[in-house]
């Protein structure tokens, strides 16, 4: 394992080092020491490496990640794993707003709580929140799965497209065009797999599923408000 100490190494140098790694690089396990809430830590990675950030991060940690497995041993600031393409990002603590925004793929696990707009405009990413998620989560979410093991805040799934939302706790309110839907066997199967991959011992049968009514799919002035 190699360690990069952010109190010594500049952010640019650290990211450049990690971004330069390829599938055949010798050193595949990395640790980032002293992150101290810095922004843009380990963003733009594109190799199957393992990176552990030893503390809290600022904005956009693991942004646009591809392939890498990134763990934050602390809480993450806004926009963690934004637009992630593939790989895995695990936040041991809480995540601030817009976690996993516009993510196209991969798995984002938040072991604490997620703030507002978690999974906003998600486009294929899977997000598992062990705790609660704030308001406007999955706003305009297009595809992928958002799993909230705790409670969901106001306006869950507003203007939702085809993403699937699973909530174990309460939902303060649903957003426009979002309704509760039947949990069919295929959904239990998807959710069981996601929970297992996210290291969560909750039972899939405890969750409710929410999805789009699809009334906003074609412009209709009656939907305006």
């Amino acid at each position: 394992m190699h360690t990069i100490d952010l109190s010594v190494t500049p952010l640019r140098e650290m990211n450049a080092t990690l971004q330069a790694l390829t599938a055949d690089s010798n050193t595949r396990v990395w640790e980032i020491a002293n992150p101290k809430g810095a922004h843009a830590i380990a963003c733009g990675l594109d190799a199957g490496i393992s990176v552990t950030v030893m503390g809290h991060t600022g904005y956009y940690c693991a942004g646009m990640n591809k392939q890498a497995a990134i763990t934050v041993k602390g809480s993450a600031g806004p926009g963690v794993a934004e637009n992630m393409m593939s790989g895995t990002v695990v936040i041991e603590g809480d995540a601030s707003q817009y976690a996993g925004a516009t993510g196209h793929g991969g798995l984002l696990v938040i072991k604490g709580n997620a703030s507002s707009r978690c999974g906003i405009s998600m486009k294929g990413i899977d997000i598992v929140v062990h705790g609660d998620a704030g308001h406007m989560s999955a706003f305009m979410a297009q595809s992928g799965n958002l799993v909230i093991c705790g409670d969901a805040g106001e306006a869950l799934g507003d203007s939702l497209y085809e993403a699937r939302l699973f909530v174990r706790g309460s939902v303060k309110s649903l957003g426009a065009d979002c309704i509760e839907k039947e949990m069919r066997p295929e959904h239990i199967e998807i959710l069981t797999d996601l929970l297992a991959r996210a290291g969560c011992d909750a039972k899939a049968q405890e969750f409710r599923r929410y999805g789009s009514v699809r009334q906003l799919y074609h412009f209709n002035i009656d939907n305006a408000y």
Binding site: R12, A40, C43, Y60, G63, M85, T102, F219, I221
Partner: protein, 446 residues
């Protein structure tokens, strides 16, 4: 014999307020209950570059010899932070227009024409297509609120990144790509089902305000190794403050889009009633850059109704570093060509007025995803036509600059201009023709 029982009647006078287009729109709204959606940008007469004139040289200025003495047109964009600024041969770029709104052949033609002319093209709300990356020597990748098709590989394939915060035709408004134009390919690029409307939000999903944007730009620079310039595109609404904040957030280049700018589809009421003409916006943006000591350090690209070399030269004289064209480029490719007049008539319009681009039935094959229609546009011929047009604009601008005694388009200055109208004088802050005064001039009473 005159009939005194029916006295002479007054001549019918149409109302200037309730004109034919206004009453027609009232009838259309009453019949449908839906506001008009269209493309094409503002159509009403607005204060514009036509209201400015160049003074030319006689005694007090010394002109350059046409065709013999050099008038340079090159421009470098992104000199503030980027390791690899963009070098353009001409200061006329192609504005962002999405694949989805435009056909694949249209995007390819734009790339071919711009490359021949030595300038850049820009992607749009829909991601980067092989057609435009393959045929554009210099391609600017738009980073939009929708993030359709956004991925780090394309970011790193781009020559610059343009963060779109606003658009001149609809500052504050989101995008609308209606289901008629969502083909299999468009749907796949945007991660959405085929045939459904695609709403683009009016705000970016993962930042709010200029302080967040500054951090977002740091992330984009980290992902792209600080190599490419970061543009910030703003709608022409509050140009002084928006330019100031864009510079503060870390922009290498500010793109300022006035209300004459085109759009693929939005509400007519938005297009015609929100934002300001580009003529009014340029001096305020330049003033912001000057107040920050960043004029020419952060480059300014302006767009919104640029049509001729005279427009280019006037924008330069007011302080812009380059211009961008959208609607004009589409017309150069063949949009609204009279050769399709009968087909335009069948759509209830006429060549020159067709603006229902959102319906996907464009006879010219430019603003559609219909295979039979898109096949009508030959991208090689379209590229040739665009290159010709860009060359003509450049020659026109050079001709004017030489007449003003300038060896580079960037040497044009407000002192080379006068205004034909009080409005234009006030907005451009150049003297009314025949005077040394403009409304609001410091030290004067009015």
């Amino acid at each position: 014999m005159e009939d005194h029982r029916t006295p002479p009647r007054t001549v019918p006078i149409a109302s200037a307020t309730f004109s034919d287009p206004v009453t027609a729109e009232i009838r259309r709204a009453a019949a449908t209950g839906i506001y008009d959606i269209r493309g094409g940008g503002a159509k009403r007469r607005l204060p514009h570059f036509d209201d400015l004139l160049f003074l030319g040289a006689s005694m007090s200025r010394y002109p350059l010899e046409g065709y013999r003495e050099r008038c340079d047109t090159s421009v470098t964009l992104g000199t503030r932070f980027a390791a690899n600024p963009i070098e353009l041969d001409i200061p006329i770029t192609i504005a962002g227009m999405s694949f989805g709104a435009l056909s694949g052949p249209a995007k390819e033609a734009l790339g071919r024409g711009a490359t021949l002319a030595g300038t850049s093209t820009t992607t749009g709300d829909g991601g980067m297509t092989p057609e435009e990356r393959g045929h554009s020597n210099r391609l600017v990748y738009q980073y939009l609120p929708s993030r359709y098709g956004m991925n780090p590989d394309d970011l790193r394939r781009a020559d610059a990144i343009e963060i779109v915060v606003g658009q001149g035709a609809k500052p504050g408004g989101g995008g609308m790509l209606l289901g008629q134009k969502i083909s299999d390919r468009v749907a796949e690029m945007r991660n959405l089902p085929k045939g459904i409307d695609q709403r683009s939000s009016c705000r970016h999903p993962d930042w709010t305000g200029p302080d967040d944007l500054e951090i977002k730009i740091l992330e984009l620079r980290e992902i792209t190794g600080w190599k490419v310039p970061i543009y910030i595109k703003i709608g022409g609404a509050r140009p002084y403050f928006d330019t100031t904040l864009a510079v503060k957030a870390g922009a290498d280049v500010v793109v300022l889009d006035g209300m004459q700018g085109g759009t693929a589809a939005t509400q007519d009421v938005f297009i015609e009633h929100v934002g300001q003409p580009i003529l009014a916006c340029i001096p305020e943006a330049v003033r912001a850059l000057q107040d920050l000591g960043m004029h020419r350090e952060v480059q300014l690209i302006v767009s919104g109704g640029i049509r001729t070399g005279a427009d280019v030269a006037k924008a330069m004289a007011l302080g812009a570093d380059a211009v961008a064209i959208g609607t004009a480029a589409l017309i150069a490719l063949g949009d609204n060509d009279p050769k399709y007049e009968s087909e335009y008539n069948a759509l209830g319009t006429t060549a020159g007025a067709y603006d229902d681009w959102h319906e996907g039935r464009d006879p010219a094959g430019i603003t559609t995803q219909d295979f039979a229609l898109t096949a009508r546009l030959d991208p090689i011929e379209g590229g040739r036509r665009l290159n010709n047009y860009l060359k003509v604009m450049t020659l026109e601008a050079q001709t004017i600059a030489r007449a003003c005694g300038k060896s580079h388009l960037h040497n044009l200055e407000p002192e080379d201009l006068c205004a034909l109208t009080m409005e234009a004088a006030a907005m451009a802050k150049v003297p009314l023709a025949g005077t040394d005064w403009y409304p609001g001039k410091p030290g004067t009473a009015y």
